[in-house]
Symmetry: C2
């Protein structure tokens, strides 16, 4: 069995690696660091960026422990016990409406009575869907997944589609990605292999997003596109505050608010009953925001 401090240390190094790559991709911005302690045990290292390409980004590492919150124990049918959780969580909001918002999370959880699992994923939320970008993004994810298990990509892609769904809008948050949770040795892989897979997902993140930013660099935009970006960010807020289980759980159990809400955009808009012109680029994007699109096969 892997040592939990080892996993946490590797995640901390992953945060370092990702921040370094993102600073290069940003072309001028540098992360500000913020170390915090959790009164009940453990703490974290928050890194936030207001850069040249990335308007607002957070790359958060944490390793916390203590008594397992009662509500979690109940939900999992566990007697009162302790827990240890460590992970890296990222949301990046770019300046350009032609570049996508991205979210990544990798995490490890273990309880005092011997249960453990990994979770995580990466998903992409373009303000304007560019099918070639979505395909590239999914190809990177598939390629990482396929190194570990042939079932992982199709299964975790479907889970992401179901999870990142804005139910009250009947639309997906973006073009999906992969999402997995409670991944343990029942998956056919042992703990070391699952950690290696989770870590590989983490390592896939930075070069993939750097390439997507690069792709967006040549795309021009003006006020109408900026306005649309603000509205799409509003949808991002709606998903995170209304449906995201992690956000809800954190806010309801007195988690560290600033870490939980680092996912919020720097600025967002709402308009009453706005719907885009039929045939416009905005309408085309809405047409893509549905479950079950196979971006790799999509022509």
């Amino acid at each position: 069995m892997l040592n939990k401090e080892h996993i946490a240390e590797q995640f901390r190094l992953l945060q370092d690696d990702i921040c370094a790559q993102l600073e290069t991709a940003d072309g001028g911005g540098t992360f500000k660091e913020d170390i915090w302690q959790r009164p009940e045990g453990g703490g974290g290292r928050s890194r936030v960026l207001e850069g040249n390409t990335i308007e607002k980004g957070g790359v958060m590492f944490s390793a916390v422990h203590g008594p397992l919150p009662e509500v979690t124990a109940k939900a999992m049918n566990l007697p009162p016990t302790t827990f240890f959780a460590t992970g890296v969580s990222i949301v990046l909001h770019p300046h350009s409406p032609m570049a996508p918002i991205i979210h990544m999370n990798v995490r490890y959880f273990e309880t005092g009575n011997g249960r453990w699992w990994f979770g995580g994923g990466i998903d992409l939320t373009p303000h304007y869907v560019v099918p070639e970008d979505a395909r590239f993004f999914h190809e990177q994810l598939k390629s990482t997944c396929d190194r570990f298990h042939a079932d992982f990509y199709p299964k975790f892609r479907e889970t992401a589609d179901d999870y990142f769904f804005i139910r009250h809008r009947h639309e997906t948050r973006g073009v999906g990605g992969i999402f997995f949770d409670y991944l343990d040795d029942q998956s056919g892989l042992d703990q070391e292999q699952i950690f290696a897979f989770t870590y590989a997902v983490g390592k896939t993140f930075a070069p993939t997003y750097a390439r997507l930013l690069e792709n967006a660099r040549g795309r021009t935009w003006g006020e109408p596109q900026k306005h649309w970006q603000m509205l799409r960010r509003g949808r991002y807020v709606e998903f995170n505050l209304v449906w995201d289980r992690g956000t809800k759980f954190g806010l309801e159990t007195n988690g560290r608010v600033e870490s939980i809400l680092m996912s919020m955009p720097p600025m967002a808009s709402w308009e009453y009953n706005r719907s885009p012109e039929p045939g416009s680029a905005e309408a085309e994007t809405l047409g893509w925001l549905r479950k079950g699109v196979d971006w790799i096969l999509e022509k």
Copy 2:
């Protein structure tokens, strides 16, 4: 017993009256109207304003009926039945950061098996707390309440303090107001009197807010105040999407999204770990955002 169509008709007239007064107070803006039908029964008349003083405002009337949603029936320990609900709901976001956001709601609910009640309230969310404004606002509410029952103002003020509380931020949404729900003949008033009270609350709204806008007219502001307003609007979004029971219920039961989310600000911001300079006007405002302030006695 009052006729439910009569109550709905009076609420519809209240919407007319409030819109007319708000157009005058706005000084140039006019409401746009939007009639909608609910597939399961009933519908509504939405009025939205993008004005000179009010940046984004909604004054929504609805009268809907149909089978009582299962989740509501369960929560109320009722067998499967039908329901009728009518009301007016308002949120106004002013341009000026020196003027407050305001929210008002009056509603009537009855079930097919003979239960009925009224609910509603008004609460105020200044971006900058001005104690004189808060006192004036609470005096208007108290004066309306006192005409009906001596217990109403203290009781409903406390309910508003408890309800409009952003738990994860440990701060109130604003300077409170009044809030009441499930008000029926157990209150000591009969149905006609409770309707008269609820209606009086509705009538208190427009002249009170017009006066608050008037008070704010002379207050100057610049970029720093506008920026602070965006951050406070972010908190408003957090309250409504995370904690507001009406919003959550509506979104989870497939309510009309555009009516439910008319409360969202035209634009809002989030910054990581922002806290105002000690001694600043912003810090002073945060100091007021706590439960239990008696604004009328406050010096």
